[in-house]
């Protein structure tokens, strides 16, 4: 991939949230390593899909990429500009080029603003359009692009259905003419028939406007459908990254295999034939992650050597990048899966796990 083709480059990105305890003085007693060393690059005009279960850090990664949550360490370069060291004013003008779509359109749209006001706000902030008529023209074109009628302008978010609200959210992102759109669970709050409408819309917009997407979702089927490259996250780190079709045909990391086999397919013949890899237990707490490979406590292929004490790094195997010491041996069938007994995992801040996670102090950075 030449320099020119890469729009976003993330290097060793870390986002750690302090765990605080105490009444008068906030003592920092630990850290939740929500994102702990992620490298990835997103090609211009392509879609990068990020999947993982809740708590794996995928949303935090998306927000840190846009500098909505300040990263603890690491670099994010957007079209050659380093974002982490950019002064606030400059960063603000960069934001026009990178927009976000949120999961729940109802809570991400101001209920007291009508659609026109929601869409105009960004234009005014960034000084796009010469006057009111010009802005109206831009907004009108955007509404056409996302398939909303013109009369929507004077309506308020509560007057729309879930799918239409998500279209408003997409319009708000699009109206500024961005190059990158980070979509955090864009369809998971919607019904299946509406989900498909929005997925198709995102696809069409990419074709017509040449957008670059980072799609964050827990639904592997959705991500695979719209992504060119898929990255699988587990406890704050990428465990596998591969072209979408390859990831499905040849999953190399044990976690990817388990995730794939757990996704139900709406076809009885496929369902009856499939081999299921059931993982034991729950996702460990990111405040107290397992040593070595973070997946070794649930991994059916875990080995007595290396897995528990040496953290695997992403390495190239064919077109994939995999963080597993034994990927080749597992792929060739040399290693066989074995039983794993479930370990009790405490929900965040309960039982044996350390303290309560307090919300970070800067407004809007708590996910």
């Amino acid at each position: 991939m030449s320099e020119n083709d890469v729009l976003v480059e993330v290097r060793d990105l870390k986002v750690h949230f302090p765990i605080k305890r105490g009444v008068l003085f906030d003592r920092v007693v630990g850290q939740v390593k929500a994102v702990d060393g992620v490298d990835l690059s997103i090609a211009r005009g392509k879609t990068y899909g990020l999947v993982g279960e809740s708590g794996c850090g995928k949303s935090t990664l998306g927000r840190a990429l846009l500098q909505l949550t300040p990263p603890t360490a690491g670099e994010v370069s957007f079209d050659g500009v380093e974002l982490t060291t950019l002064p606030p004013g400059k960063l603000r003008s960069m934001r026009r080029r990178m927009q976000m779509i949120f999961q729940d359109p109802m809570s991400s749209l101001d209920p007291r603003q009508n659609v026109e006001s929601i869409l105009t706000e960004g234009l005014q902030t960034h000084g796009i359009g010469t006057d009111r008529t010009d802005r109206r023209r831009i907004i009108g074109e955007t509404l056409d692009a996302v398939g909303l009628p013109r009369w929507a302008l004077s309506r308020y978010p509560h007057e729309f259905s879930g799918g239409q609200r998500q279209r408003i959210g997409i319009a708000r992102a699009l109206v500024l003419g961005p190059e990158l759109i980070v979509a955090d669970e864009p369809v998971s709050a919607l019904d299946v028939s509406i989900q498909a409408q929005v997925v198709n819309l995102l696809d069409e917009l990419q074709d017509s406007l040449g957008l670059t997407y980072l799609v964050i979702a827990h639904d592997l089927a959705v991500v695979r459908h719209i992504s060119d490259t898929v990255g699988v996250m587990y406890l704050g780190a990428l465990v596998e990254e591969a072209p979408s079709d390859r990831l499905y045909n040849e999953p190399l990391h044990p976690y990817t295999r388990a995730l794939m086999s757990a996704v139900p397919v709406p076809d009885p013949d496929v369902e009856d034939r499939r081999e299921r890899i059931l993982l034991a237990g729950d996702l460990p707490s990111p405040a107290n992650p397992p040593s070595g490979c973070r997946f070794h406590t649930r991994c059916p292929w875990a080995q007595p050597t290396r897995c528990a004490d040496e953290r695997p790094v992403l390495r190239d195997i064919g077109a994939s990048r995999v963080a597993c010491h034994w990927a080749e041996q597992i792929a060739s069938g040399e290693l066989r899966p074995h039983g794993v007994s479930a370990q009790i995992v405490r929900p965040e801040g309960e039982g044996d796990a350390p303290g309560v996670v307090s919300a970070p102090t800067e407004p809007g950075s708590y996910v």
């Binding site: 879930g162 498909a196 979408s244 709406p266 929900p347």
Partner: protein
């Protein structure tokens, strides 16, 4: 004879000055002993209200009207008084809900909540009840069950809470288990664990399962007979394989075309259903799906379509169904005969 026979069930919510909402409108289906039956549909199609009505759990409020029959083992559940209904609930019919945290009592230890069921229906007390409760937790795959009994719901993870709820549900070996979106709040690897557990319970104990879900993948994996709901009506009933292979109702076709599949290639276009359910509340006269339907004809508007029983044991509520491959669409009179 079927274990549960729901006949012409209707639930209406009326509010003064507004048109009554027919949340459930003439729903009929049956569950045989040991069978897994699915109620499938999108939000607002009436699937949860159906199950709550059967269990008598709808909040008693003015304007609520429940009609029809729900015959369980010879007794019409809708005619029972609260007392006898409570005897059946938990013992013969148990229910699992979507969100385990809000269906468990947060200030009572898990153990007490499980033994409560045992005390109420099986007359167990003290040590015996505690032992049985531990055995139940063990059966649903909760590690170290003795210790878990003393813990509170917030100390368990989402998957473990759902397991605890299932343990309570199967405590009296019910003959029918109603699961309302049991895995929707869970991560996909945990969902796989819970679905496997439910399958095991059905297989081992012969409990019938009424599975309410929006997820066609879950349906494909475990349900024997599928009822597809739209607009408070059952629009299609079929065995699992024929339904997925040759859906007849345009809504089922649309639903299947909307779901992205893990085993489909990148960029294969989805075929969504235009419009949305919410646009149409309260339901239009005639077929509720007509405004969104690609196969709409003049007959669709006016009277709600009759249930058509096709020759292969399946039924659908549509006047212009998807033709079977290789079949010349026959005149309607012949098909319904």
């Amino acid at each position: 004879m079927a274990l549960l026979e729901v006949e012409d069930l209707s639930v209406t919510f009326a509010r003064r000055g507004q048109r009554a909402v027919h949340a459930v409108d003439g729903v009929s289906f049956s569950v045989d002993a040991g069978e897994v039956v699915g109620l499938v549909g999108e939000s607002g199609c009436g699937k949860s209200v159906t199950s709550l009505a059967i269990m008598g759990l709808l909040p008693k409020q003015p304007g609520l009207r429940v009609g029809g029959k729900a015959v369980f083992d010879g007794t019409d559940l809708l005619q029972l008084d609260d007392r006898s209904r409570r005897d059946i609930r938990g013992r013969d019919i148990a229910m699992i809900f979507q969100d385990p945290l809000s269906s468990l009592n947060p200030v009572i230890p898990i153990g007490l909540q499980v033994t409560e069921v045992l005390a109420r229906h099986r007359g167990m007390k003290g040590e015996t009840a505690a032992k049985e409760a531990a055995a139940l937790l063990d059966r649903v795959g909760i590690p170290d069950p003795k210790r878990r009994l003393k813990e509170y719901p917030h100390q368990l993870s989402g998957g473990m809470r759902q397991r605890a709820l299932i343990a309570m549900a199967v405590a009296c070996q019910p003959r029918l288990l109603i699961a309302d979106e049991p895995t929707t709040a869970l991560d996909v690897t945990i969902q796989a664990q819970i679905l496997e557990l439910l399958k095991e319970l059905v297989r081992d104990s012969g409990t019938a399962l009424l599975m309410i879900t929006h997820d066609l993948g879950v349906v494909a994996g475990m349900v024997d007979t599928v009822n597809v709901l739209y607009g408070g009506r059952v629009v299609e009933t079929a065995r699992r394989r024929p339904l997925f292979r040759q859906p007849r109702h345009p809504y089922t076709v649309g639903l299947l075309g909307s779901v992205p599949r893990l085993d489909a290639g990148r960029g294969e276009k989805l075929n969504p259903i235009p419009g949305s359910v919410r646009d149409l509340l309260p339901w239009p006269d005639g077929c509720a799906f007509a405004p969104r339907c690609a196969r709409r004809i003049d007959e669709c508007v006016g009277e709600p379509p009759e249930l058509v029983h096709a020759h292969d044991g399946r039924s659908y509520r549509c006047v212009n169904p998807e033709p079977l491959p290789g079949m010349v669409p026959a005149p309607r009179e012949e098909e319904s005969a």
